[in-house]
């Protein structure tokens, strides 16, 4: 698989992706082979189905949010798109500033997980939904509602009963979220 996929990947394409995302050529080739192995139809693009065939993803409670994060409005994504999304999760390195994988971008990505309707606000309903996905029926609706209320209350500074992106960043200020949202891509 590896040799075939690296043949299919043109050098100039690698260069472009490298420029855009900051991945090394090795990483790009490795990820390309992963991309190709996910691409069951061999048509150079991935569909939502291709993602959901990954068993771990299928049972992941946030599975469809993840897919949604990848696809946005599109039906299929190509390799460049795939790499652009993944590059958000490159580890943050000092001195090597990249506009795609800095802390704020990572936080933006996390924020989008909650903010489904993309109105730049996490509403109480959106939060409850995420909570529901995460805990299943292990917690009663009343409790969940009270948790959501509390959470909003904690984070909400301007009193609009929603968490804006700025409030989101503020509350996560002292956490190591950028470490958590990093993947050690193989060289």
């Amino acid at each position: 698989m590896g040799s075939r996929s690296s043949l299919m990947l043109q050098d100039e394409e690698i260069a472009i992706i490298q420029e855009e995302t900051g991945f090394t050529p090795n990483q790009i080739e490795r990820l390309y082979s992963r991309f190709a192995s996910l691409d069951k139809g061999d048509n150079g693009t991935l569909s939502r189905d291709d993602f959901l065939r990954i068993p771990e993803l299928a049972i992941n409670p946030l599975g469809d949010r993840i897919v949604q994060a990848f696809f946005g409005d599109e039906e299929r994504i190509n390799f460049r798109h795939f790499m652009r999304v993944l590059s958000t999760f490159r580890p943050v390195k000092k001195n090597r500033d990249n506009k795609l994988n800095n802390r704020r971008e990572k936080l933006r990505f996390a924020f989008k997980l909650y903010d489904l309707d993309e109105n730049e606000k996490i509403t109480r309903e959106e939060l409850l939904e995420i909570l529901h996905m995460m805990v299943g029926a292990n917690i009663s609706n009343e409790q969940l509602a009270s948790i959501a209320d509390r959470t909003i209350m904690e984070a909400d500074k301007d009193g609009d009963q929603c968490i804006s992106f700025e409030e989101f960043c503020n509350i996560l200020e002292r956490t190591d979220v950028e470490e958590k949202m990093s993947i050690r891509f193989l060289h």
């Binding site: 959901l52 990848f70 409790q143 959470t151 509350i171 956490t175």
Partner: protein, 816 residues
């Protein structure tokens, strides 16, 4: 002359013995006696009482020196025996425990009369016997118990005294206390008493150290440790070698220049000393870092380093000290030394892995005998330590490996109670061992063979600190730049790591093990070691806390942190688990990934009870499930769901709530993790709607508004705790076994549960697919609501059958 062990039998209860019984004894005795006496002079004999119930008999054994030649002058009455002339009594001993006093009258021996042995056995009845003093027999055990009690008492006092525990590290207090006790003992001379437990290296290495290492090994089993293992090994192995290789020669050159006076210290002795002084002590380090509560990654860096560093130091110590006392050391010997270092560590690793695996295999068969589980686990761990030491391998490395193996595999075989027992037993024993070590350390401080050399002591301390800083900073540079570390070890943390190089019990123990005949400066070394220990523990140890605050090192965030952070952590973890899966990049490197697969497929199958068939059944279920996708079954389920959605709007409320009740019982797994649902091609808005619908406990978004107004958000219960519990109970976390959760090392859900729920999940999906496909085969084009309700009910029933493993998955598959 020959020795004779003679036993006299007495009837205890009657002062006037029953004539018949007694005469029989006497008869037998005399017969035997005479027989023996008639034999050759070399004969040794011993009579053993097999005649009567022991509790009726008082047995006194006397060793007599009889004159040569046959003699039949013995005369035994019930409490007196007459021996022939010139017989001397070597010793008498009471065999039976029921006798309190025996006096043997030897006075007549010198007068040349027939020797009379008077055995004045006091026949005491039970009620008088109630009080007696048996210090000789039991004093040792009693003192051990008392010592342990004191150790526990000290711990209690320390933690109850608030000012003490906030300002001074525990180890300092213990050393001080030990010094006080030691001083008292020293001046009262109690130290000479044979009953006072003494600190020696066997006690330390074979009794006190193993529980500490085992406890540490169990708590090493953490994601943070495995994430940082490369860096930890770098610090522990390379760092220690750098320390040894710099401290040793530095001291040697100082001594050559005459800084330490006229005594020149040979290079090899300097190296030995450098080795033992490089031992960073996990006990001291842990005691302080656990109190300071630094962030997890740093904690495991320091903890792992100090633990593995000991193993390195001890093996190095053995290697180097084998070379001590030689006149000239050849290259081959150095090579042999390096080889022996490798063999020692390699042997330790394999011994540990072997015994760890053995303990898993043994516990596979203990499902009916849960009581022996803790014993097996702990004893096998101990044996891994001693067994490795038997072959001169590294016991510490072996024990660490064994402990990690047990945490990975054995834990799943034993019951929850056994697990708790083991956890707390090791915790208790190791914390008491800590206390004892520090108490002893204080006690041994007070002794009279110290050899003080100011220059040497201070230079040693100086070198220790300087080179520690040097090695930590240079190695961190390597780790940060050449290892694929996600997390850069920042300056403050490096500083703290270097600062945390506390010396302790290991260094001390190795120092007092020094052989004075081989190493000329042994006493100087002991004194210097003690000084370095005291300096690091007292000065560095007690200033660590302020320094942590000053440097603003990230503190381990605890649960009192904000609710949203907690939620977000879980969301991000779950999300990243999925992301890594997409990137095909689960673990840091290829081999680790290979190993993980091998581990899941083969090792766990062998070592964990039921691991094999469970893994296989899950796999087949998944295969079936994904194949099912092709022949349209999945689509059926999707259709079923859309139907539910559509019909939801039209059906009457009672039916609706019935459906919801049925669903919410069984389908919570289904609801959030349902992969089939994900394959829908939906516009964003319908996707959003579907999300709402797939939470069956509520029909639409409206009820939330109702819920919100009357509910008081504040309940007395700890919301955060509830949430954490719910997270840990949710199907996904059961499935991942909390691997992605960094927070709760303490109560990680067992993998057994995880497997069960994974299996169940697969089962329920298949069940749903089966019902859906069946109902469509029957004809009617839109799936009728009642069949979906049936499916949901079946799912609910499935959950009830959760414990019942007898439902065979294969049957289920066939039905599908």
């Amino acid at each position: 002359m020959f020795n004779f062990n003679h036993q006299f039998f007495y009837h205890r209860n009657n002062k006037q013995p029953v004539a018949s019984i007694n005469s029989i004894y006497c008869f037998i005795l005399i017969v035997l006696f005479n027989c023996l006496l008639c034999e050759s002079a070399q004969t040794k004999g011993k009579f053993i009482n097999k005649l009567t119930p022991v509790n009726k008999i008082v047995v006194v054994e006397a060793t007599l020196d009889l004159p040569p030649g046959p003699s039949k002058l013995l005369n035994i009455t019930h409490n007196e025996i007459k021996l022939p002339n010139s017989t001397s009594i070597r010793e008498t001993r009471i065999i039976s425990k029921n006798v309190t006093k025996t006096s043997v009258n030897k006075s007549q021996k010198s007068k040349g009369k027939p020797n009379q042995v008077k055995t004045n056995v006091t026949h005491v009845d039970e009620e008088v016997h109630l009080i007696s003093w048996r210090w000789e027999e039991l004093g040792n055990y009693f003192l051990i118990g008392a010592f342990l009690l004191i150790a526990a008492g000290v711990k209690i006092c320390y933690h109850h005294s608030h000012t003490l525990s906030t300002h001074i590290p525990e180890s300092c207090v213990l050393i001080l206390l030990g010094t006080i006790v030691g001083t008292i003992f020293f001046f009262t001379g109690v130290l000479e008493s044979e009953y006072v437990p003494k600190f020696n290296s066997p006690l330390f290495f074979y009794v006190l150290l193993p529980p500490i290492i085992l406890e540490s090994a169990y708590s090493l089993y953490d994601k943070s440790f495995f994430n940082n293992i490369g860096t930890i090994l770098l610090y522990a192995v390379v760092g220690t070698i750098i320390n040894i290789a710099t401290i040793g020669p530095s001291l040697y050159y100082c001594s050559e220049w005459g800084i330490f006076g006229d005594d020149k210290i040979p290079l090899i002795e300097c190296l030995i000393f450098a080795t033992l002084i490089s031992a960073v002590d996990p006990v001291a380090v842990l005691a302080i870092f656990a109190e300071v509560n630094v962030n997890k990654a740093l904690y495991f860096l320091v903890f792992g380093e100090s633990l593995l560093n000991d193993a390195v130091v001890i093996t190095m110590y053995n290697t180097v000290s084998a070379l001590a006392g030689r006149e000239n050391i050849r290259v081959t010997e150095i090579i042999r030394g390096i080889l022996s270092f490798l063999i020692t560590s390699g042997g330790g690793v394999s011994t540990g892995i072997f015994l760890g695996a053995l303990s898993s295999i043994v516990t596979r068969f203990t499902a009916d005998v849960r009581v022996v589980e803790p014993l097996i686990v702990i004893v096998l761990a101990y044996i891994s330590y001693i067994g490795a030491e038997l072959f001169h391998f590294s016991g510490i490395i072996s024990l660490i490996c064994c402990g990690l193996m047990q945490a990975e595999y054995t834990r799943h075989n034993i019951s929850k109670k056994s697990y708790t027992t083991i956890k707390y037993l090791t915790k208790t024993v190791s914390s008491i061992a800590d206390v004892i070590i520090f108490l002893f350390l204080g006690m041994v401080l007070v002794r009279d063979d110290h050899k003080w050399n100011t220059e040497f002591v201070f230079l040693t301390t100086f070198f220790c600190i300087i080179y520690r800083f040097f090695s930590v900073f240079s190695l961190t540079y390597v780790a940060n730049n050449f290892f694929q570390r996600l997390r850069i070890v920042n300056f403050a943390e490096q500083l703290l790591m270097a600062y945390g190089g506390l010396r302790g019990a290991i260094a001390f123990c190795l120092a007092i093990m020094l052989d004075t005949s081989k190493i000329s400066q042994a006493n100087l070394f002991v004194t210097a070691t003690l000084f370095v220990i005291l300096f690091t523990v007292f000065v560095l140890g007690s200033t660590t806390k302020p320094i942590v605050h000053f440097l603003e090192v990230k503190i381990h965030i605890k649960h009192e942190a904000k609710l949203f952070i907690e939620i977000n952590n879980k969301v991000v973890e779950t999300f990243m688990a999925g992301m890594e899966e997409i990137a095909g990049n689960r673990s840091a490197n290829y081999w680790a990934q290979k190993f993980a697969r091998f581990n899941d497929n083969y090792v766990k199958a062998i070592l964990i009870r039921g691991g094999a068939e469970r893994a296989a059944s899950i796999r087949t279920a998944y295969e079936k499930f994904y194949q099912g996708k092709e022949d349209g079954r999945i689509l059926l389920i999707q259709e079923a769901k859309t139907t539910v959605k559509e019909e939801q709007e039209t059906i009457a409320e009672p039916t609706h709530s019935k459906l919801i009740r049925a669903c919410s019982d069984g389908a919570n797994v289904q609801r959030s993790n349902d992969p089939q649902a994900n394959t829908w091609k939906l516009s964003k808005s319908s996707w959003y709607n579907r999300r709402h619908r797939t939470l069956p406990a509520r029909p639409g978004p409206e009820p939330y508004r109702e819920l919100r107004s009357p509910k008081k958000p504040d309940k007395s219960e700890d919301v955060s705790r509830v949430l954490a519990e719910a997270f840990s109970k949710s199907a996904y976390y059961q499935y991942t076994g909390g691997i992605h959760s960094v927070e709760d090392r303490e109560d990680k859900i067992t993998k057994e549960n995880a497997r069960k729920s994974k299996w169940l999940m697969a089962k329920s999906k298949i069940q749903l697919a089966a019902i859906a496909s069946k109902s469509t085969e029957q004809g009617s084009d839109p799936l009728p609501l009642h069949s979906v309700v049936k499916a949901a009910k079946a799912l609910a029933a499935m959950k009830e059958r959760q414990q019942n493993e007898s439902v065979n998955l294969d049957n289920l598959n066939e039905r599908v």
